[in-house]
């Protein structure tokens, strides 16, 4: 039986806004197709071997725990994460998880906090939070699709040359509420501000991550169709409410 190993990075501190629902979505959609799924939690202090994991998930968190987190990243996990990204592993990074993969975070008072530096992007804090349901357009597996989610961030993210935007904002703020870009793509990293959680009600997105991970591991990305009536109803409701 084909099996994918999912690594949930820092679920002990990066666990806000229902983001763990993303792991549930991947797991269920693998199970429903008869594909095995193993989940490893890499908490602060854990010496998890990241090399045999296929899909990585890193979510949003509160500022309070950031100090504990950065210490752990500096003690080796940051390098392991970089290696995994460079070797083409699938990453889903949300909000704080997205920012942390970037180079640094500058607070609105000017303090600079170094991050992992796996992606060519940086974030600048501001006082006003960007909060609300939003929708963006992106391309997944050669197909144009709309993604709905809930953004809640005070950091404005700016992309460098080394990455490209994941999507174009149709409604809401996205990366910085200035350039209409949303999220970032690099190798097989999918980074976005979308909470919600994003995967359950955007089933194409979940399936894209699964396909890329299967192709990486088994060289074959064929997956069976599922009945997505519930998922698409939830998706369509928000798209209609926001932009139709």
């Amino acid at each position: 039986m084909k099996t994918l190993k999912i690594c949930h990075l820092y679920p002990d501190v990066l666990n806000l806004y229902g983001d763990r629902g993303n792991v549930t979505a991947i797991k269920k959609r693998l199970e429903w197709r008869g594909i095995g799924c193993e989940i490893v939690n890499a908490n602060i202090g854990d010496k998890t071997d990241l090399r045999d994991c296929d899909i990585f998930f890193i979510g949003g968190g509160q500022d309070f725990e950031q100090e504990v987190l950065l210490k752990d990243i500096a003690s080796g996990k940051g390098d392991a994460i970089k290696d995994a990204i460079e070797s083409g592993k699938v990453f889903l990074a949300i909000c704080a998880g997205y920012q942390i993969l970037g180079k640094y975070y500058k607070t609105h008072t000017g303090e600079v906090c170094d991050f992992i530096g796996a992606l060519d992007l940086y974030t600048v804090g501001q006082k006003k939070r960007m909060i609300g349901n939003y929708v963006y357009e992106c391309e997944l597996g050669g197909r144009k699709t709309e993604i709905v989610g809930f953004e809640n961030h005070s950091g404005k993210t700016y992309l460098g040359e080394g990455v490209r935007p994941f999507g174009k904002i149709l409604y809401g703020n996205g990366n910085n509420s200035e350039d209409k870009t949303e999220g970032a793509r690099y190798k097989n990293v999918y980074a976005t501000y979308a909470h919600g959680p994003v995967l359950p009600k955007n089933p194409y997105f979940t399936d894209e991550l699964i396909r890329v991970a299967l192709k990486n591991k088994y060289g074959d990305d064929a997956i069976s169709e599922l009945d997505d009536t519930f998922e698409l109803a939830a998706h369509k409701y928000m798209v209609n409410r926001l932009i139709k």
Partner: protein
Amino acid sequence: MGKIRLTAAVIACRFTRWALRVIGKGGTSLPGEVAVRLYPDILTDLSRDVSVIIVTGTNGKTTSSRMIEQTLVESGKTYFCNKSGANMLGGIAAEFCQNSSFTGKKKYDWALIECDEAAFKTVSKYLDAKCVLVTNIFRDQLDRYGEVTHTLSSIIAGIKNSKNAVVCLNADCSLTVSISDEIENRIVYYGVDKEIYKRTVEEISDAPYCIKCKSQYVYSYRTFGHLGGFKCTGCGYERPSPTVSVREIFETTESYSKVLLNIGGDEYTVKINLPGGYNIYNAAATACVGYALGFDSKTDAAALESFECGFGRMEMLPINNARLRMILVKNPAGCNQVLNFLCNNKERSLFIVALNDNYADGTDVSWIWDVDFEKLLDVDESLSEIWVTGIRADEMAMRFKYAGISTEKIKIKKDYSELIDDIAAYDGAVYMMPTYTAMLAIRKRIADKFGFKEFWK
């Protein structure tokens, strides 16, 4: 001159309230906003000779307030309170206007005020509270208040404004206890000394790391969430020994819990007239407030047995053969407690979730994924069906699908009339978990059809 303005403000407030009723609106904050606009110090003036009890914290405010109200009743105190969830500055000002004479003289000795942490910070500037109860601190609707540390600082600011208040704190909540470092008030702690449930949902702890030194906590026992016998492995910060505590839990049933309650050294076997572990906490909090204010502890214990539950807090609304209970939910911690209750309940029942995402509900519904609905699989056989309704019914239906519930069992009923007709045709226990605005709308439909009282009456 001030006297005239005060009288004018009181009259304007009461007139606005009356006018709103006449046109059929149950609005509860506008009249007070009018009064505050006319006379900014209105709360200070109207509360001068009134003993004010403030109830704040994330969860359990309303139920604790109703229990405290019962102790006021049974100990023969005259009082008024802000019912119906009007707990912002305007709503509270309106209650004071309504409950004093036109010239601003007090009508009652006590005021029992429930207010959220943000409003507490503001109203405490005007009220010289005699007692402040902090029930607990959990993550709430984050799209509005930000992080738990933000909630905490609002409460601390509120208590600092309440220099003369005795403060009742939940000893089992590491976030709440940390308030003690920041204040100089007299503190009385309450808590639950033991585990409550045999089986509990899996929860994300809202406070895994020490608020003081950021090391991990260890627990000698946990009741739910991050509540229990915590101790920091780094700095040694730990649960203080409470003066008022639940020593033993004898029985937890569908309609009550029976516990051994210690109130400052006196022990009472108490039947808490409301089910659910979180209501055991609310009862202890109530006894703590009574103790802190020097009430007779025997009367306080008796009040817990006789009180009837409030608006949407396990409130029983029998419709034909359906025994409908409404359980308002606002955040994952509260919702997980409802699930703890349901998962220990073996009776055949129907479960309904009504999910709205209006401002008062919290516009971000992602919290439903932080709730361990997977635990419902343990009682799958006793759940006849799961119905979903409200603005975000589709999202909720999908959540249940991903929790592993068979899609055959999940019914989407967005039309409230149809929903209520179907409930009325059901025979047995129905547990409905609505968010705030969904509850108001559904309750009104039920009231119109079956003649229950409107909440603001």
